[in-house]
Subunit: 144 residues, 6 copies
């Protein structure tokens, strides 16, 4: 078993806001991140798949395919976008919202990529790591 | 003469939009950056001052002072903000706007820091470098 | 389960010296690190906690809290300090000393942070990684 | 148990080519990597060993020994070499070839280092990570 | 005047060999780089242009144009290529060869890009920096 | 003219202390750096030489020579050392001391390397950059 990782980047805006809370509580819990004009990051994504290298090609997966899958399933919707306003996973409704924290972005990326990797066959998605900054990152490895 | 540099970072949103142009022209010139929901970056700032090291302290400037000056003059207004909507240099008016490109951010940071460095005496501002991403950066070294 | 990591840095001095050995043996085993005047590093710390993101905040832990805990439990005692002379875990006594290798620093940081993370509830400490240089790092993940 | 990692780098050439396929299929599967003049990379290697720190030295392994083992077992044969033409694991024969993909390089490095770490005693080889570029890396952790 | 830089990368093979010298002298002067099977690097290119930001767009140059120019003039010929065997500037003839050192690559990249930047108008090429590894880089700033 | 740079690293301890001042003033001016037990850094050095590439070798200088010169003139005395206690430029005497700030280290490295580069002929020392941390660096380019 070899673990193969492809890194990708996207630039996006977000803010942290719980519509069920008054402004004061949002500011208290989320600090400067609660600014509803949004702020942004250069996110770095590390997508890891696990499998046996194909004995002929030496590939766990074709990295050209993996790069294209990341672009199609994630970057096209996330890059140069406002995560709260334009990415459905983080849409704000009357009943609440999934806050686009690094943790929740990692889960969202996993859910977008996992079916594509499974459909391709041969390898499984092993880990999605998302860096919000070089100092903060989150990993999701699927449900046990 | 020694050139001393302090790095700092801030996270902000922006978009590229000329209010004098129709949407089509904005999209053609600015591409994905014209999305008015905004997108964002982890900006890195490198502020360079030049001067003779003080013979007693060995300092060109006190780096604690320089860090505080960058926070007061720049980061407090730029970090976790939307550059077009919250930073006056990039405000959009009927007559147009200064687009928050990396080039214009470098000039704006210079104009904010240069009076503070001059007032402190002893060293002069030599260069402001702004990274929008690790792949793109702009430098302003003042007017000749 | 999501694994959330916060990076922090500190600058410290140390040397490698076993008081039960003669100087020659210290030099033979520890090489240039046995210089008792000390040398130093910019250490980078990666602290990983594991847990379910809170359904309302999207946080595994509040990163502001985690940053403050790392400062309070570790950085205040380690940063700009001499590890052998000022940090109790590495004090030299007649009976010996715990050498401040990267391995032992990782264990010491874990032991300082683990009770604070446990007391906060909701997430568990998963991993402490310490970089002595970009080329050398050690990880401790607790006792199995 | 502590996991201790030493990073090393080497610069090498390679190409991807299956001698059992016609040129068209090699180009289709391997793209620009199929250029038989070769191209090259600055590879980064991260070698992780796992064990208990020695109570006297604080070492999981002596990093001077580990560095020398990596040089002797891997770098002397891989650095400034053409992997397909000069490294036996990737030699091309009539019956085929093990393609020097990042995946296969990770396995080859593991097989070279594992006996040396085992012979030294005290720690076991835990992981070999190979970066082909900062964007692509593979890990091998031995057979389960 | 603002200095705007775009970074790009390419992976290539090369070797150092002067056809006018016997093998012994090539090995003595060029060391491991004289291996004629070639070795390779992930080169990083930093292309800096200088000019006044356009008052409407805020651009010194359009970075999409600059990226395309670097790809067209440099990367298409250099990436995944063997510099000595496939790039005309470094071709080996009976009368000698321009060795693809980092210094000479910087000059070659400048000569390829300078006419394109000049033809585009508005900004001038200011600097080409080439990293052979993170530890070695060369800059060419044109003839004075 | 090409500017060629070689990077090197060393790990050292230092503190900031003016023997002509009382302890309170040292603490006030130098903050945590005034701790006389010392603290340390992984310093990164970038040494830039300028000259015409040799038409035969393509070298501004032989990088193997430059690396050896940096080791001989600087690293042998600075690496794994306490700058105040072991490097003569920063020795503390009754009449005062040159504080080992990043600025003064850059000047000291220049003064050590400049005669060696001049004696070698063909290229001149152009710049010495010293990083104390990734966030702080100083450059010395000689006297005008």
């Amino acid at each position: 078993m070899v673990f193969l990782t492809r890194r990708a980047t996207f630039s996006a805006s977000h803010f942290y806001w719980n519509p069920a809370w008054p402004a004061e509580k949002n500011e208290q819990v989320f600090g400067r991140c609660s600014n509803r004009n949004g702020h942004g990051h250069n996110y770095t994504l590390e997508v890891t798949v696990a499998g046996e290298p194909d004995p002929v090609t030496g590939f766990v997966v074709d990295l050209k395919w993996l790069k294209a899958a990341i672009e199609r399933e994630v970057l096209n919707d996330f890059d140069h976008r406002h995560l709260n306003l334009e990415v459905p996973e983080f849409a704000i409704s009357d009943s609440g919202a999934t806050i686009p924290t690094t943790e929740n972005i990692a889960i969202a990326v996993w859910k977008r990529l996992e079916p594509a990797v499974k459909a391709a066959g041969g390898a499984r998605l092993s880990c999605v790591r998302v860096y919000e900054t070089p100092e903060i990152f989150a990993e999701f490895r699927g449900q046990p």
